[in-house]
């Protein structure tokens, strides 16, 4: 029985004689209770089970070599994503080129790198010297030692970056195609050339479509970097592994790594959400309802019926 103040609140009629009894929703309470009980049991069991080694977790959570691993993970993620985005734009534009050869080349690149596991690609780059001990690039006088050139870190960056470039190119392409064709047409009608149109008109507008999946890819990349442990690059997971290779506290150290991954992912997720909202706002007169707002329709229960507003 909440009072609803209306503009003519003072003259509002009193409630009629009925008492309102709110609906009980027993199903809701039951399912909620069940979930809470299960979650509580789970958490209790996790936190009281000595096998998890929470003391060890606490010990290593701020270990300096774990910290170094985090830095490598973040650095690898940032560099690989940067390479991926640049390659993505280049290959997306190539795939939309008027030139069939250029288009086919871009298509082949994308399909090759999307078609093979990144683990295999990493191993390839890492072992490149087994294939080409000396890299000449066909340029006389150029003799580069592949092993010198491609350190494990370079192999990691190459593997992740080139692979990501293939995925990003599909994202950028979807973004470009999402821009209303009328925009290109208007630019064309004004005499703006295709390249200028792409750069000044299409790509800026495609950003709105490009950014959300790019955020997802970044979060994915964060975890994909865990793969480079196979080529002994000391990122977060590898740092945990070398500790447990000595101390055999495997589970606690995997938990340490997971907690850090979770934390970083959460921060990135929140960042992504707000970035997306900002870009959506930039583009529409009325923001579409957030999932949150859409949900409110489902939640809405009403208890404000008792006090009626006034009439005129």
């Amino acid at each position: 029985m909440t009072a609803v103040s209306t503009r003519n609140g003072p003259e509002a009629k009193a409630a009629d004689s009925y008492t309102v009894v709110k609906a009980k929703h027993p199903g809701r309470w039951l399912s909620a209770a069940a979930i809470i009980v299960v979650a509580a049991l789970l958490l209790h069991s996790v936190f009281t089970n000595p096998n998890f080694g929470w003391d060890v977790v606490g010990l290593y959570l701020r270990d300096v070599s774990i910290g170094r691993g985090i830095l490598v993970t973040l650095g690898l993620t940032a560099i690989s994503m940067a390479i991926g985005i640049v390659l993505g734009v280049i290959f997306a534009v190539m795939r939309l080129s008027a030139n069939p050869v250029v288009r086919t080349a871009a298509f082949a690149y994308v399909n090759f790198f999307r078609g093979t596991p990144v683990l295999v690609q990493l191993l390839f780059w890492f072992n490149l010297a087994a294939l080409y001990p000396v890299i000449t690039l066909g340029i006389p006088g150029l003799h580069l030692d592949a092993n010198q050139l491609i350190t494990p870190m370079t192999a990691a960056i190459l593997g992740l970056g080139l692979n990501q470039g293939a995925y990003m190119s599909e994202i950028v392409r979807a973004g470009i195609l999402s821009v209303d064709h009328g925009q290109t047409e208007a630019a064309e009608a004004l005499g703006i050339t295709r390249m200028q149109t792409m750069r000044r008109i299409v790509l800026p507008q495609a950003m709105r479509v490009i950014i959300p999946p790019t955020g997802n890819e970044t979060i994915g990349m964060l975890k994909t970097t865990a793969l480079v442990s196979v080529i002994s690059v000391p990122e977060l997971l590898y740092s945990a592994q070398i500790i447990y290779a000595r101390s055999f506290e495997t589970i606690p150290l995997l938990i340490v790594a997971s907690l850090w991954y979770l934390l970083i992912t959460s921060i990135l997720t929140i960042g992504q959400y707000y970035l997306e909202r900002r870009f959506a706002r930039g583009n529409q007169r009325n923001l579409p309802p957030t999932p949150w707002q859409k949900l409110r329709r489902f939640i809405a229960t009403h208890d404000a019926l008792a006090l009626k507003g006034g009439t005129r």
């Binding site: 010297a129 001990p133 070398i242 290779a245 055999f248």
Partner: protein
């Protein structure tokens, strides 16, 4: 047996340069040094790969940056004898030998047992002779030993690429089937610690690996697993691996000879808890 072992006074100045604490007592072996290829001598560095998941031979110190272990000390000693700086490079076990073949590293010490298959792609210099053992959960409820027939029908783990998982276990399994028993279910893991974890979680019944290492690791792991009683299986030479094209074999052999003949060889074994049974004499090197 080796007269050319350098005396301390002969090379005192040079010894200081490559020395790390452990290899401090090793002095430059001039005969070995002369055998070095020119490029290596000029570079002054030897890149040595190890898979640092294999205590006490190679693993990380508590700072998680410095590789330590028997192999690390031994390779430092080789470096000191050759007057070279040693650069320790971590790598996963099954990528080391291919990496050596492609010139990614100059030398590898990761407790490699010498097998004909491996000898096809790299050269070896003997420095130990280790037998294989089997690690089990405390008390060995399943009574697994290095007797092949005790493993029949069991889940046995090894490190992917190790001689135990690539050769012994398939061979044992064959013996089982020939004896009319269940074959062994062989499980390969990327690292020794992955295999050990699978053992402690009961995922596998035993882990087969180098016996010295297993004994040490069982102790380090707080007794979560232990080396099973019984004889070691077929001690085979353990070797320093060298790329075939690197031209290092003669120099390293000489350097190793010097170390094997020095008291430092036994000191290292003591330091890392290696039993005398795994040590060899420099005669072995002459048989090649």
């Amino acid at each position: 047996t080796n007269a050319s072992q350098a005396t301390p006074d002969a090379s005192a100045p040079a010894a200081a340069a490559p020395g790390t604490e452990g290899a401090g007592t090793v002095v430059v072996n001039e005969k070995a040094q002369e055998l070095l290829p020119e490029e290596i001598k000029a570079a002054g560095v030897l890149r040595v790969a190890s898979d640092p998941t294999y205590a006490p031979f190679e693993y990380y110190d508590t700072d998680n940056k410095t590789m330590i272990g028997y192999d690390v000390d031994f390779s430092d000693a080789v470096g000191a004898a050759l007057g070279l700086k040693i650069e320790h490079v971590p790598a996963t076990f099954d990528t080391i030998l291919p990496g050596l073949a492609s010139g990614k590293y100059d030398m590898a010490m990761s407790t490699f047992s010498i097998t004909p298959e491996r000898e096809k792609i790299v050269d070896f210099v003997d420095y130990l002779k280790g037998g294989s053992g089997v690690a089990v959960v405390p008390g060995n409820p399943q009574n697994i030993t290095m007797d092949p027939l005790s493993m029949c029908g069991k889940k046995i783990a090894g490190q992917k690429g190790s001689i135990q998982s690539m050769e012994y276990l398939p061979e044992f399994s064959k013996q089982c089937t020939e004896a009319g028993q269940e074959p062994i279910s062989i499980q390969n893991f990327p690292g020794q610690s992955d295999a050990n974890l699978a053992l402690t979680s009961g995922r596998v019944d035993a882990v087969v690996a180098d016996s010295v290492s297993l004994a040490y690791q069982g102790k380090e792991a707080g007794g979560k697993f232990e080396l099973a009683e019984g004889e070691d299986y077929e001690p085979v030479p353990t070797g320093i691996a060298l790329g075939k094209d690197a031209g290092l074999q003669e120099a390293v052999t000489e350097a190793t000879r010097g170390i094997l003949d020095s008291p430092y060889y036994a000191e290292m074994a003591d330091k890392w808890g290696l039993p005398d049974s795994v040590l060899i004499t420099s005669d072995v090197l002459d048989q090649k």
